[in-house]
Subunit: 208 residues, 4 copies
Amino acid sequence: MNKQSEQAVYDRQGFGKNLELAPPAGLLIVDFINGFADPEVFGGGNIRPAVEKTGKLLALARKRGWLVSYTRVVYAGDGSDANVFTDKVPGCLDFTETSELSQVVPELPPEPGDLIIRKQFPSAFFGTHLASALAMKGIRTLFITGATTSGCVRASAVDAMCHGFKPVIVEDCVGDRSVQQHEANLFDLKMKYTEVMRLEEVEALTSL
Amino acid sequence: MNKQSEQAVYDRQGFGKNLELAPPAGLLIVDFINGFADPEVFGGGNIRPAVEKTGKLLALARKRGWLVSYTRVVYAGDGSDANVFTDKVPGCLDFTETSELSQVVPELPPEPGDLIIRKQFPSAFFGTHLASALAMKGIRTLFITGATTSGCVRASAVDAMCHGFKPVIVEDCVGDRSVQQHEANLFDLKMKYTEVMRLEEVEALTSL
Amino acid sequence: MNKQSEQAVYDRQGFGKNLELAPPAGLLIVDFINGFADPEVFGGGNIRPAVEKTGKLLALARKRGWLVSYTRVVYAGDGSDANVFTDKVPGCLDFTETSELSQVVPELPPEPGDLIIRKQFPSAFFGTHLASALAMKGIRTLFITGATTSGCVRASAVDAMCHGFKPVIVEDCVGDRSVQQHEANLFDLKMKYTEVMRLEEVEALTSL
Amino acid sequence: MNKQSEQAVYDRQGFGKNLELAPPAGLLIVDFINGFADPEVFGGGNIRPAVEKTGKLLALARKRGWLVSYTRVVYAGDGSDANVFTDKVPGCLDFTETSELSQVVPELPPEPGDLIIRKQFPSAFFGTHLASALAMKGIRTLFITGATTSGCVRASAVDAMCHGFKPVIVEDCVGDRSVQQHEANLFDLKMKYTEVMRLEEVEALTSL
């Protein structure tokens, strides 16, 4: 079945409705840390351009006063918190509090007061206090950028929706080592879980 | 980039290692309910053959004494539990406790003592007591079947892994309205989150 | 050590600060179901008067347009969802979807659109979608009533706080089979987790 | 009503049944960090003797090969993760990764491979990956020690039970700034949520 007739099935079954975005908004930057920007580690594909575009989105977020949050992959370093995910992808265990791999990329510097979430799983929400922090501030809409689209971005977006926040994937601000998987996952996200917008569309939103 | 060179990237970065499966095992049947078996509602694609294959897997699970659990999509019917997911896919709200849509398909009858999880989100684990029930019984490995591969099956598999269980997707027992999305999601699952096995491989496992 | 010198320790260590309550507000009525109102089942103590006072609070909530939510204890009836809690208190397993024990008391009738949370654990939040539903509506302050103060009310209040909501225990609207445990738990709640107010104080709040 | 007739109510209503403890076991040491051992900060009451007794329990745990886990209260230090709990108890915010207050007491030294859980809420399970880590290892029984009985110990014990683990409070290994609240909370825990045993009873268990 080709892409067009496939879309027709989703349309006929009523998927892909739009979310009514409401303030206040937050920005979540998923795993834009050195190890995911480096093609020799977990990077590649369209991740680098997504980092650059996210610089503009971050500036917008600060200008509008959105809550800014980042995730970092951080393991203990002694194997004590190895888990099923690290059984599948053992290289994750090299990401420790002080390793270069796990520092936020220099292009997107955190500021004091930003929320820094250390995580050991794909989703920014699993085993962390992110949902609590967003709910406490009454956040309704969550713009999501980062890497990878088919991994931690998707897992975080699905969980954002489950926790009651309206997720918006900024599609030119998310990237993946595999451009094919990037595209396939954007399709699922748009049909079932989130809004998908380009940076310029986000810039044009005046109500948030 | 073609599929082959893409796989090479994942291999080089160390993705897709195997999980060491350990007993005791459980079986999770995700949303094999009438509404997902019917192409006029949320079904289509390769869902029907997956239901049929799951009948064999269910028989195996009962023979081996695995904990059997099912999910059903169940909303209140008065809109009180509408959520961001139903904003994207409003048709979900028709699935209520007594609607025909939300009953387990007749081919896979639950038995007394099976765990029936009512859910309002993609993942079988979100907002439910499934993780607790599995942990209480010391379950280590969770075979997962159901619909759809790109939706509730994937979300449940990712969460299974996060909660500490080793997920095994039985690939001919999961289905999707879109065979393309089915394939794309199996790739992500295999590379990052789960084992992916065919029914006959599961039948050949003697240690579980 | 007597109560007065004990309070001095908490004061000196900086416990018991006040929460700044913010709109919008919600009301959570915990387990005011027949089985907890009946001294022959799980009732007794000061539960009955708390039910009556809650009638007034519920009227206030409806007048002000607060989100109203109820919990009911509901188990499957076939033992499939027995858990560690029911190992400690086996009588819980008699509370099923259709049992008289598990219906909301007639004095506090739910209306269409109220959130009805079925739970298998002390906290209204554990294994349920309550936190998600509150976050989706941007709820900031949660008034809590119900039974028992030392059990499901406390567990729900602690979780409300953890999930980012400002909990207010309405002290003459919560009750317990043991008045001693009611008092001891109100002390913990006030020092560490929630506001504690009387109904007339809540009525006097004009900002919510 | 006196204590005796109160106990009769709980007995008649069927509370306080025993849990069947099953291997494998783990040990959870809650917040035995300098700030909770110091009466000038959050300590006092019977916390000091509980630390000393826990030394013996820890030795037993290591001898028997139980999974050992610790919690530490750790906030970011810039106010970014202030929450409703720190609104009630602002002094918590002084506990940071490097502050003396938040280091495990010298009497109970962690070893490489022990699980160290950083938390921002009362429960060791809230916003952390503890439940996942225990489930992954198939832990069935969790011995709990630490401070305070009426605070983080109780919250952790209730959540342990909810997550499907059988909690055992080792009563001479838990302490509280208030001995009255210690006693009141042990009563609730014993009646509804956990086993309560003395260290010598734990030492006598041969099956774990």
